[in-house]
Amino acid sequence: MPERCIYWEEAKAIILSDAHFGKTGHFRKSGIAVPQDLYKEDLQRFFSVITSCKPTQVLVVGDFFHSTANEELNLFLKWKNDIPNLTIRLIKGNHDILGVDWYNQANIELIHGQLQIGPFSFQHDPAEQLSATVTDDFIFSGHLHPGIQIKGLGKQSLRFPCFYITEHQCILPAFSKFSGLAILKPKKQDAAFAIVNDQLIHIT
């Protein structure tokens, strides 16, 4: 979806990555005045996807929260309390450094390493080899904040966040708008879907 996440209909699940909730708050706490409206927009997008798709679970492939606890996370909790039946399963990413208690309290299931659902695995870092037996699995991951560069004649070029899909895996774009891009160069057999003005465009 152009909202920077995937809706998996059969499993009634939303898959997303690198939301970095609380990032603006973390910056502001250190005296860097980043506009908080950005966080508000990220949150609103998250909850509007939940309201419109009505998933039973959210699978987060890492970096759901940016750093240590702050007021912004309390805002997240307040919103989350309004949808008590939602299961959130977080595959721990390098930014998820909150205490175990915090996740328990927030009713977020914390998973280390990898989550397996049928033929699909979920992990944070696409480059990490987590088990030798998963060669046929299709892996969902994040971490990179993938982006794609489109070049035109006359030396023109544009960059967009994208979903990057190969035969065996899908790397999700960062859900948060407060994130940079790692430009990937698609191989022939791979597909990239760029997020351009609330649309997904297949880049070949």
Binding site: R28, L38, E41, G154, K177
Partner: protein
């Protein structure tokens, strides 16, 4: 003042200050008139600006004045009086200068038998020395603008300055026009608030707007002040190095290495030669090349640039003083500072981009009285010979550029307010008045001031209850930073010189080589070889912000590219350049132009050579797309603005996208479809009708503001470049200026720093007055439209520069140039 007045006043000074005069006589020094004028003015309690080139006693002009004043005020006990508190604050832009100035001052003090102490304070000052200074301030403190601001973060700083009599700002022409100049203005406004009857003396080399420079500096004192000029006439002797084989000399490029062998006889014949190269990367290449051409020079030739380890730089400077070196390859790092007496020759490689800089560099040679400054100009590509001719003309006519002071730099002001909040805290009403007394913030509006205070206290609009914003707190009306970590981080980031994140380069076995940009090193992998400080180094690993290397014997190595901006040609040089072009192919064109005959003939055959009252436009189609080339000869900066406006206006005729590239001669619009410019619309495209509106609109469509924001975000405290001992935590605080720019554009478009980015573009890049002048000149010119079948000699460097922007490595770039040149059949 008339000369007679000056003389009587100088006489007066003499009788009052026999002690210093006696000492001067004993040293066999005859004071210059301007020095005596300065001494008298200082004794009279005045402030002002001294205009004197380096190396003719400008330090003495203020320093001896301060001593005379002290002796005057303590006629009986000046020799025994100790611990007088800070009397003279000596502000200098370069750390490297401090040591020599301090040494010279100490000598005088010792010989006169005063009890004064001289101390240096900058990034290299040890904690022990700092503590000593805190306990008892020396009488003279030599300091950089950054360190002065750092001093203002200390508790109780006002007590340091209560006895302060004089602030001397050395090399004011270098500071003014930069954000360090703004820092200096703000510091003076604060010092003026801490001490009574403060005198401020600027020392400046010749610039076009000396009177304005004085006004800017003295603005906080609300005094007019005196201008004292040293009348010292030193002739400059300019030689151009003409390539032997003009036909094969490249049409573009900026290395000029092909002519390296021509430097050897010059070095041979001179006592000591300074070789000025425009960038650090190229200076590395030059150093290597000279050594391989003349291995016998090993040990007698050295390299000096800003990224080399300080101890090595100091060694080079000492060796220059003692005439141990035959030649030094250097960058702007040796533009300023004390004189190296043995230097008798200067070589400038590539365009110096401005007349003032060229003259200053020339002035680094031949310092002894009666000697001539000798400078050689080595062109790095054919067309630069035209620039050589233009420079000669300009020096002859005595044209010198202005330095324009900056206005309303909110980023510097934000940093300054946090600086004050870190130290004593500040009361807004009081500081508002002080800030407004500076030239930079004279026009500061109450709503802007309010936005600035909001920015540091509440962080702009926020989600009220769910916000942790913390920086400056207000307690009893005093604005203060109480959080120790925020205060510490602020101290680490005081300064306005923004560079890419720098990593220290060290040998595996220990030993520090210099610094290198993260951007460059991130493209290398272990085992790659690069050059720094003239040594070939193999990358082993990167660890904790250190690049670990070992020596390499590899023949090939990568030369780091430092991102330090390329300078733009000044308007004055541009004007001279246009006239010079007019003379091409005329019989008495001068040696440089005569040698370019072949090239001009090709240009003439393919297209046209623009006269000074003509504007040439070329349209060329090739496999890259459709090129539109325009040659206003106004300098890179104006071209950036002009090209953006032109692109905007063409886009109004027909939607299309361009890639824009430019140099000092002209600019290129490249598109994937034909560009609709012909004699029916060209006049209109270059008219000054609706200029302001089109400037505004074209700014929004280019990346200029984004580039400006890079520096602003760092100075304004939005980006931290990491600090020792806090690496992991700081990592969660990292973001790029480009990302922040995007975020602010979307979520906080009224942010004061974002507004400043656009304002800077408007004032510095898009200077409406200068643009209007340029467009009016074009309106009075004849416009010549040409459709050459292939790239012309004039278009070539611009198109190649465009390639360069797309990050092609230097080797492939050369191949590319060669190939294109073959296509041209030159």
């Amino acid at each position: 003042m008339t000369d007679a007045d000056n003389q009587t006043k100088a006489m007066h000074a003499k009788t009052q200050n026999n002690i210093v005069y006696e000492w001067l006589t004993a040293q066999q020094i005859t004071p210059f008139t301007f020095q005596e004028q300065a001494w008298q003015a200082i004794l009279n309690g005045e402030s002002g600006l001294i205009n004197a080139p380096t190396g003719c006693g400008k330090t003495y002009s203020v320093f001896l004045g301060a001593l005379m004043q002290f002796i005057d005020q303590h006629p009986t006990n000046w020799q025994s009086k100790k611990n007088n508190g800070l009397q003279l604050l000596w502000l200098t832009p370069l750390r490297a200068l401090a040591k020599d100035i301090g040494r010279a001052m100490e000598e005088v003090i010792e010989q006169l038998g005063l009890q004064w102490k001289v101390a240096i304070r900058n990034g290299d000052t040890s904690t022990a020395d700092r503590a000593k200074q805190k306990k008892q301030m020396p009488e003279v403190l030599i300091i950089t603008p950054e360190s002065l601001h750092l001093l203002l973060t200390q508790k109780g700083y006002p007590s340091y300055f209560t006895q302060l009599k004089i602030v001397a700002v050395d090399e004011w022409h270098e500071l003014m026009g930069s954000k360090r100049g703004v820092q200096t203005e703000l510091a003076i406004s604060r010092l003026n608030g801490c001490s009574q009857n403060l005198q401020v003396w600027g020392i400046s080399a010749t610039i076009g707007n000396l009177e304005e420079a004085k006004k800017v500096l003295l603005s906080p004192l609300k005094k007019e002040g005196l201008t004292i000029k040293a009348v010292i006439d030193k002739p400059i002797d300019i030689h151009t190095i003409i390539p032997e084989e003009m036909e094969t000399y490249p049409w573009a490029g900026h290395l000029g290495i092909k002519l390296a062998h021509r430097l050897l006889p010059i070095i041979e014949q001179s006592k000591t030669t300074l070789i000025f190269i425009n960038t650090r990367g190229m200076s590395e290449t030059w150093y290597q090349t000279l050594l391989s051409l003349a291995p016998e020079l090993a040990g007698a030739i050295a390299l000096h640039h800003g990224s080399i380890e300080q101890a090595l730089r100091l060694w080079v400077e000492d060796a220059l003083h003692t005439q141990k070196l035959k030649a030094v390859v250097c960058t702007a790092s040796l533009d300023l500072g004390v004189d190296f007496r043995p230097v008798d020759t200067v070589i400038q490689v590539g365009s110096p981009k401005g007349i003032a800089r060229f003259m200053q560099r020339a002035g680094r040679s031949g310092h002894r009285p009666g000697e001539i400054s000798k400078i050689y100009f080595l062109p790095t590509h054919s067309l630069e010979l035209v620039e050589a001719a233009a420079l000669k003309k300009a020096v002859l006519e005595g044209t010198v550029e202005n330095k324009d002071p900056l206005l309303l730099c909110f980023d510097v002001l934000l940093q300054y307010l946090c600086t004050l909040a870190t130290g004593e805290g500040f009361s807004p009403k009081h500081i508002y008045e002080e800030v407004q007394s500076t030239h930079c913030f004279n026009d500061l509006q109450p709503d802007e001031w309010h936005a600035l205070l909001q920015h540091i206290t509440t962080g702009g609009t926020a989600l009220q209850a769910y916000d942790d914003f913390k920086k400056v707190e207000i307690i009893d009306g005093i604005y203060k930073i109480n959080n120790r970590r925020i205060a510490m981080r602020h101290r680490m980031h005081i300064g306005t010189i923004v560079s890419d994140a720098m990593l220290k380069v060290k040998f595996l076995s220990g030993g520090y080589v210099g610094v290198i940009e993260e951007y460059f090193i991130s493209k290398l992998s272990p085992g790659d070889v690069f050059t720094l400080a003239g040594r070939n180094l193999e990358l082993v690993t990167i660890k904790d912000m250190h690049v670990l290397v070992k020596k390499s014997s590899a023949k090939k190595s990568l030369i780091p590219a430092w991102m330090g901006g390329r300078m733009s040609l000044t308007a004055n040089l541009g004007a001279v350049l246009r006239k010079t072009f007019s003379d091409a192919l005329t019989p008495n064109a001068g040696i440089e132009l005569t040698h370019l005959k072949e090239l001009f003939l090709i240009q003439q055959t393919l297209s046209h050579i623009p006269k000074h009252d003509e504007l040439l436009i070329e349209q060329i189609e090739d496999k890259d797309g459709f090129h539109l080339l325009v040659y206003p000869f106004e300098g890179r900066q104006v071209h950036e603005a002009l090209s953006a406006i032109l692109a905007y206006r063409i886009g109004q005729i027909q939607p299309m996208s361009f890639s824009i590239s430019m140099n000092d001669y002209g600019f290129e619009l490249l598109s994937d479809s034909p560009i609709p410019v012909d004699d029916s619309n060209v006049r209109e495209l270059f008219s000054d009708h609706l200029l302001l509106q089109h400037i505004q609109q074209s700014i929004n469509n280019t990346e200029m503001a984004k580039r400006k924001f890079r520096d602003i975000a760092v100075i304004g405290g939005l980006i931290f470049q990491g600090m020792p001992g806090e690496k992991v935590k700081a990592r969660h605080l990292q973001s790029s200026a480009a990302l922040l720019f995007k975020v602010f554009e979307e979520f906080d478009p009224n942010n004061i720093l974002l507004r400043q980015a656009y304002q800077e573009v408007l004032e510095q890049q898009m200077d409406e007055v200068r643009l209007r002048l340029a467009l009016q000149r074009i309106a009075d010119s004849q416009i010549i439209l040409q459709f050459p079948k292939q790239l012309t000699p004039l278009s070539f460097p611009i198109v190649v520069d465009g390639l360069n922007r797309n990050n092609l490595s230097s080797e492939r770039l050369e191949d590319r140039i060669k190939k294109m040149q073959q296509q041209l059949g030159a």
